[in-house]
Symmetry: C2
Subunit: 190 residues, 2 copies
């Protein structure tokens, strides 16, 4: 069952933008993250939520999408995320966030998938712009933006050999293909 | 349901050591991680598994446990993990692993919980010792050790205020208490 969630939890980049996500849903997802492991239990992560067109428009221009798709600059209006969760690191609590944001982001996205939603972790962020757009204090490091919505694209996984390209691509039908390394290539026999 | 898994997925540090974990189970867990998101889909993570007493004894001395429990140096023989997954970053694929190991580690532990197991992400590692004990090539950065086993301790979560201590502690009955920040203290109202 976790396997189903993990397989369904793809990096979705096109959404049914008109399907809104409630503040309560976003709180539910952060409530999951709140109960996750954190290095030395310091819990330095903070969150900003966004689920209105006005707020979303302050986030979208600060995000970069799907670097390998050279002819695509991100979702068109109508296919954009209906919500976001910005993950920050509070430097007054810790200067090093280790992989806490990965733990939190993955948990949030698995929770989103369970709710029939989907999302994408975006690390390629115009941090200065995003900081200005929300007046984010310098004490917070901007770690990740999670885009969320009702997915409107098909994504398929493919196995890939160690010497082959891991670049995802979109076929003529608009299906998004994601190559993943094989188990035997990622487990070291030592 | 993901909520149940997340709440059950505590950082367990005492186990029923005699209950072994099969290689197949470890493969199943890494199979989950294999399908997770990875920055730019590079998938630089590699894994070493261990589930025999001989191999486990090459890992345990390289791990540090529960920094806040000053009178406890980690699990006694009989309560130690019955398996480990070492997460490495392959520097020939990427020099920066971002939070990929957090994504993978959380997914593996959620999978373990679903199987009736539990574990702990250990970042406090004697990396030189671990490298020597498994002859891990310099091309691999040692990112995390996941300890795994059948949990043999009770862990309870508690809410904590912003000015209170987040240090976990063990009470007179041996119950492990973990303070977690409240939702209202981690969501910024901006």
């Amino acid at each position: 069952m976790i396997r189903e969630l993990v397989l369904k939890n793809r990096s979705y980049r096109r959404f049914k933008q008109e399907e809104s996500i409630s503040t309560e849903t976003l709180y539910d997802l952060i409530e999951l993250a709140r109960h996750c492991a954190s290095a030395a239990n310091l819990q330095p992560l903070k969150y900003i939520i966004s689920n209105t067109p006005e707020r979303n428009e302050r986030i979208f221009p600060a995000t970069s999408w799907a670097g390998y798709l050279e002819d695509w600059n991100g979702p068109e209006d109508g296919e954009r995320p209906s919500a976001y969760i910005i993950i920050l690191g509070d430097t007054t609590i810790s200067k090093n966030f280790f992989c806490d944001h990965g733990i939190a982001a993955q948990t949030i996205l698995l929770g989103a998938v369970e709710k029939g939603l989907g999302g994408c972790m975006i690390g390629s962020i115009d941090r200065d712009l995003l900081r200005r757009n929300f007046l984010i204090d310098e004490r917070y490091e901007i770690l990740l933006v999670l885009a969320l919505g009702k997915p409107a694209e098909k994504i398929v996984l493919e196995d890939v050999g160690p010497e082959e390209s891991i670049k995802y691509y979109r076929d003529a039908e608009g299906v998004h293909h994601v190559p993943k390394r094989r188990l035997k290539d990622i487990i070291l026999e030592i």
